[in-house]
Symmetry: C2
Subunit: 403 residues, 2 copies
């Protein structure tokens, strides 16, 4: 039987709509195991650990926990902080002082890296720590996973927003640029393709960071579609970059976080500049841009049922794995073969999800680099689940009258 | 009994999530009356009428109509076009040719004005036309109405988006500017206040076009809140203007439509410039801006139940009024006195809703001009209806350990 001790859990990186499902899944599972004594939550991830800023999660009522599970964005607060070697030493003092033997960190690849650093340090000093990463990211860019908790709900938001925008643009035609989150991985932007119901539905063009972005080709693509349909909706990843790998948005923003990432979200600059280019280089007059922004990862009430369930499961399983079987690791979501959508979960090595990310595979991107393929739709559709029904008039024309 | 003849219906102005309820309400009601022979829909409002571009709405299946009723954005297409005197003459030739005796135009004050122009011309030439305006606008700025169809659903979207954004900002604190639709009337921006559940919830500052916007006061307000809470969420109308009435956004956009309106939506410029001002004038580093954009009026699946019902009713009643009792008018929503939310509907004169708009009344805005009052919340809450439940940890702190 594993060591008795206290548990500490934290949330890290960009919030999602289902990240609290993982948190609540872990808490409720932890309560079932005698090895786990106190259950603490670190406020604001690594920052809260370093500041010894913990709350007692055994003091929370189950009904409140269930409400929190349905509430978007990290209920414990988040942080974008990677511990330095000095800070790692400090983290240890704190874990030791509180007899933390079970440590869970919910987040993306940066968070897995932080967990991995702490885990390796624990091994080095011979401190028995059961250390698990719990996957979360709307970017869907964790390696080893078929998809990651948080992605499906954000994808549903993007698909619904794109559906609505397509309808709006049918009503009042023009060119519309929609900027979607995704720094290096275009999965979320690709999900805009799920909005298509009728053959002329947008988005008509989709640009991912996995393909070099050429402004000339972009403007030519837009003109071609506009000529054909009288309107054009474009979905573009915030992270699109030119042939040298320079993000188009970096021309307009210089802010950098502690992971070295430039600010791409929370500004409309990329969308506006793309719209300006279209206006300047074509004769199209009605050109608009929206940046879907933080709504993509935080909008309450718009979520994928699968995502909610899977997020809960990875939290629960991380605790089970840590208590019953493994000293460390992450929980990966794998898809079962077969036509009906189903998944299974596996414990994997921490280092396999840390740091590096995965990208949209080649077979999900069309040859021209301005759309996704049917293979992507088949991949993403069952993950996201049902979308709103979109009605349309058959539209039998009335003959014009001479007199 | 009123004259037998054909019916024409069109949609105009910015789409909403429930505008098709009014359309379907009118179509299904029209089918019940023998006076109405053919039921035509004009594609893209006034433009479709002038182009004689009609579809036969009797050819649509009821099940399709019901799907369309739940689908956002003008299913017939929209337009932002006021007929010129010459065009009015042309409209008449077309109405006469098709023996249109029942004309319905779904839209805001500009659309009511177009309907009024056509109606007055009909009277002048002695052509019997039953002409009704059916109210619609997310701006909630139609006179004579307690509120307008489309507002409650857009308000729900804004409230939900603000709830999510508040949670996101609690997780990763900073300053956040959210730009919300509303050119001259701040009702929709004010609706962001419905997002507040806990005492420290945002938005912490709300700026409406009804009050002169001062950049100095704005920055000082933001600094004060940030100092107190460590974060600050601001809701700001796209139409905020300085003391001379010059829209702050006009510095960044010059595009004008045929009603003389400057482009405020479909660009992130206003939010970005406000964020820049905060960054430049304070020491706050994490400052972000989102422009909720077209999603506010087109997002499928996020709607107010009341709004859906009321939008259906105004469409239905316009037809009843036109067939049974009146030659012209608009349908107004009035609120019944009493604690429980309830409404009734009245036929009013067309000119009463045309052209001029109403604004957020003084008692809905706080003295400092940076928030709404309790009176606004009491007004808006029942219109919008239930919002998502937001859970939060009680958060009992764990004592720091000495060793």
């Amino acid at each position: 039987m594993a060591l008795k001790g206290n548990m500490l859990i934290g949330q890290s990186g960009g919030p999602t709509v289902v990240i609290n499902q993982s948190l609540v899944g872990a808490i409720l599972e932890a309560k079932k195991h005698k090895q786990i004594k106190n259950i603490y939550g670190a406020l604001h991830g690594m920052s809260g650990i370093l500041a010894e800023d913990f709350i007692d999660l055994r003091k929370e009522k189950t009904s409140d926990l269930e409400a929190i599970a349905l509430t978007p964005a990290s209920a414990l607060g988040s942080a974008r902080k990677k511990p330095t070697p000095d800070e790692c030493t400090k983290v240890f003092e704190i874990l030791r002082k509180h007899d933390i033997r079970y440590f869970f960190y919910i987040g993306g690849n940066d968070s897995a890296e932080s967990a991995n650093i702490i885990n390796e340090t624990a091994k080095k000093v011979g401190y028995e720590l059961h250390c698990f990463h719990i996957p979360k990211t709307i970017d869907n860019d964790l390696r080893e996973n078929d998809h990651t908790p948080g992605f499906a709900s954000a994808a549903k938001f993007v698909a619904c927003a794109s559906m609505g925008d397509n309808l709006d643009s049918r009503a009042l035609p023009g060119v519309k640029v929609n900027v979607i989150m995704g720094r290096h991985a275009g999965f979320l932007t690709a999900a805009s393709a799920l909005a298509r119901v009728y053959p002329d539905d947008g988005p008509h063009l989709i640009y991912l960071p996995e393909r070099a972005f050429s402004m000339d080709k972009f403007v030519a693509d837009v003109e071609r579609i506009y000529k054909k349909l009288g309107r054009c909706i474009i979905a573009v990843s915030e992270g699109i970059a030119d042939e040298s790998g320079v993000a188009i948005a970096t021309k307009f923003s210089k802010e950098v976080d502690s992971h070295g990432n430039v600010q791409l979200s929370g500004t409309g600059a990329l969308g506006d500049s793309l719209a300006q280019e279209i206006k300047a280089r074509t004769k199209i007059t009605r050109v608009r841009a929206d940046t879907f922004g933080y709504l993509q990862r935080s909008f309450p009430g718009v979520y994928s049922e699968n995502d909610m369930k899977e997020a809960r499961t990875v939290g629960k399983l991380a605790v089970q794995f840590a208590v019953k079987k493994y000293n460390d690791g992450s929980v990966a979501i794998r898809r079962k073969a077969g036509k009906k959508y189903d998944v299974f979960f596996e414990r994997i090595e921490l280092k396999l999800v840390a740091k590096e990310t995965r990208h949209v595979p080649d077979n999900f991107i069309n040859k021209e680099g301005n759309d996704v393929t049917k293979a992507f739709i088949e991949y993403a559709k069952p993950i996201v689940g049902p979308l709103p029904v979109i009605g349309r008039f058959k539209g039998v024309k009335v003959k014009a009258k001479k007199k």
